[in-house]
């Protein structure tokens, strides 16, 4: 299953080899041209000879992860691994989680001092990243070094699966859901030159997308994302950002982008015309690749279509299949409308 393959593949920012290979395998039969650029973005072309505006669909391949920075040598630390985050991870979600390290997927666990040995006051304080270790079961540093070295990256060992009613759970829905939308959209042909960019290093500052957009030089770009959703008990309406199950989320204003009003209105019009539910993303925090893309060269018009993801950047994330399917309908409908001249540049 495509979503499972994408969700479980390894690819922290700057280390996207495995996920890139998975996506390359999936899209090669679907497109006319496929290449990688110097940063590692995977760029595909579809209908290049067609007339019309150059449309870029973007989804980032990278995920938040961890990097091993030290193999500990001394005393009770002997053989344990110190690590730092690659991308935005709240250290409070790390305790008691299994991880896979490196290409060989060496299993390890992030443990904590047992509750029996903690003072009540300690339990109210989060464990900071520098109090945590990854334990691969090595007896000492020498053994650990034979399997893992500083610089190796680690990902959550979460399995993809179904949960509840019409929902899925897994790691890295940000942005493997976007990658899946882009792959699915490429299964159809459109009467316009379509460029797909599976980008690197979004989680550390939208870096791959900037180079990809320069290279593609699109007229219109749409970032496909898994975005923040916190529609849970106790969260005030204004802090929820999006609601799971309420349809694809359209960016109005986030940390990097103020939506182009004309393009936003166009996407809303398309959603309403095709009877596709949608919602507006209601917080300013966070961003997506369009934040970098719209400032490239002389500027690019476009926006973002996102699937709401609960517990984003945590080991087990939740999304609605309806939201995913409606996002795909909206992406395809927007392309069809552009194809038919529905949006004038």
């Amino acid at each position: 299953m495509l979503l499972k393959r994408l969700s479980e593949a390894m690819g922290p920012s700057g280390f996207e080899d495995e996920i890139r290979n998975v996506i390359r395998e999936e899209v090669t039969p679907l497109v006319q041209d496929i290449r990688t650029d110097v940063l590692g973005n995977l760029l595909v072309k579809h209908g290049v000879d067609k007339p019309g505006p150059r449309v870029m669909l973007d989804a980032h391949m990278d995920e938040v992860g961890l990097m091993i920075v030290q193999v500990c040598e001394n005393g009770r630390e002997n053989g344990l691994l110190k690590f730092r985050a690659l991308g935005g991870i709240d250290p409070r979600v790390l305790v008691s989680k299994p991880v896979f390290i490196g290409e060989a997927r060496i299993p390890g666990v992030i443990g904590a001092k047992p509750i029996h040995l903690q003072a009540a006051s300690e339990r109210r304080k989060p464990l900071a990243m520098d109090q945590l270790y990854i334990d691969i079961g090595a007896r000492d540093a020498k053994e650990a070094r034979s399997l893992v070295k500083p610089g190796d990256v680690a990902i959550f060992a979460t399995q993809f699966g179904e949960i509840g009613e019409g929902a899925i759970k897994g790691k890295s829905f940000d942005d493997r859901l976007g990658c899946a939308l882009l792959i699915e959209a490429l299964r159809e042909s459109y009467d316009l030159p379509l460029f797909g960019a599976f980008t690197v290093q979004e989680e550390i500052g939208l870096r791959g997308a900037q180079a990809a957009a320069y290279g593609i030089n699109p007229d219109i770009a749409i970032a496909l994302e898994g975005t923040v959703c916190f529609d849970v008990v106790g969260a005030p309406s204004h802090g929820q950002s999006t609601v799971m199950g309420a349809g694809p989320a359209l960016t109005v204003q986030d940390g990097q982008t103020i939506a182009d009003r004309r393009f936003l209105d166009f996407m809303i019009h398309v959603a309403e015309k095709h009877d596709i539910p949608y919602q507006l993303r209601r917080v300013k925090g966070g961003s997506n690749d369009f934040g970098a893309i719209h400032k490239v060269r002389a500027g690019v018009i476009g926006g973002g279509i996102s699937v709401p993801v609960r517990y984003i950047h945590a080991p087990a994330q939740v999304a609605s299949l309806d939201d995913f399917n409606n996002s795909l309908l909206l992406v395809k409908a927007v392309l069809r409308e552009i194809e038919q001249g529905g949006f004038s540049l």
Binding site: R92, S96, K113, R139, H313, A314
Partner: protein, 355 residues
């Protein structure tokens, strides 16, 4: 591999679910495992599974109890909130900080449902919030269903356990949930495997006890009901880890920990260490200064008093979903207990009351 007869049994046991008071699924699997060694099996009123492996010779034979609790720490649904999110309370001791982002199962009358303990996205988290750890009351479980459906499926009082695969780390170490105390069930099985090839006069009572995590309740009726001469509780202890005191952390692969202190009978302790020395089995000594936090606490004062011991393997990250222990320690502990049992005779028992 020699001495690894029950590794797969253990891998299975730690993916089964059984919090205090609802151990039936785990008990059924252990019953199957025990029945390879004895057909004399019963379950007492509280749910303890009790089997007997008879010794040789005419009675009265020494009676030795090997007991491992089979329950695991769990949570109980205490409230269904707007939106269908579940609030929970403890039945066993979780550090709430280890639950954030954790996958769990909610066990209902209709079946079990996967859930996730929610976490706030870092994008929406203010810097001052990051310095606080949420208490259990503030955590919630999301089973990804609409509120109306949740209210139909889930009842107050439904139990919640950790959902976690078991992972094979280096050196035959396993990481997963409920290694506290299913590793000790594996020790009983490995003991019986070794014992098959040894001669022993003692009748061996093998027990998987209930409700240890909420206060050694199953052990109280086991002690009374079995009334052994020697009761050996098998339970995990703390693996060494940075930030723990020297006497509160034991080396993985360093062999079983044998407990010493007022709760434990001095002669049984000395006999166990003497056997380990004789057989070249590595072991570590755990010191205690009062009643221990294990079934041995109840055994010692059951009926008119029972000579009690406590052994078990060191476990890192106890009471989390990634408890980590070494199978080699399980094998070593099984050898130790089998050799000890073979060495016990009527005179050993008589000597226990001579001070």
């Amino acid at each position: 591999m020699a001495g690894y007869k029950h590794l797969e049994t253990l891998r299975e046991l730690v993916t089964l679910h059984g919090g205090p008071g609802f151990e039936h699924q785990v008990r059924d699997r252990i019953r199957t495992a025990f029945s390879e060694y004895t057909t004399d099996l019963r379950v007492d009123t509280l749910g303890n599974l009790i089997g007997v492996v008879a010794g040789e010779g005419e009675g009265p034979r020494p009676r030795i109890l090997l007991s491992a609790h089979m329950d695991e720490i769990a949570l109980v649904v205490s409230r269904i909130e707007a939106g269908g999110f579940l609030r929970v309370v403890q039945t066993g001791g979780f550090d709430p900080r280890t639950l954030v982002g954790q996958e769990v199962y909610v066990h209902t009358k209709e079946g079990r449902y996967l859930g996730i303990v929610g976490s706030k996205p870092p994008h929406l988290t203010a810097p001052e919030e990051r310095t606080k750890a949420a208490p259990l009351e503030e955590l919630f479980i999301d089973i990804a269903r609409p509120e109306s459906s949740v209210r139909k499926l889930v009842q107050i009082g439904d139990r919640v356990t950790l959902a976690r695969d078991v992972y094979s780390l280096q050196n035959d170490r396993l990481a997963g949930k409920s290694l506290d105390n299913r590793t000790s069930v594996a020790i009983i099985l490995e003991t019986l495997e070794v014992l098959k090839k040894l001669r022993h006069t003692a009748d061996v009572y093998v027990v998987a006890s209930v409700q240890e995590e909420i206060g050694v309740r199953g052990a109280a009726t086991v002690g009374y009901g079995v009334n052994p001469d020697i009761a050996i509780a098998i339970d995990v202890t703390f693996g060494d880890f940075p930030g723990q005191a020297a006497d509160e952390g034991f080396e993985l692969d360093g062999g079983p920990a044998i407990s010493y202190g007022p709760n434990l009978h001095m002669k049984v302790f000395r006999h166990l260490t003497a056997i380990a020395d004789r057989e070249g089995i590595p072991y570590q000594v755990e010191l205690s200064q009062g009643p221990v936090g294990a079934d041995a606490r109840a055994f010692q004062i059951a009926r008119a008093g029972i000579a009690t011991a406590l052994v078990g393997i060191p476990l890192r990250y106890m009471h989390t979903s990634v408890e980590t222990g070494a199978y080699r320690d399980i094998v070593a502990c099984g050898r130790l207990l089998a050799q000890y049992i073979a060495d016990v005779d009527a005179a050993t028992v008589e000597d226990l009351s001579c001070y």
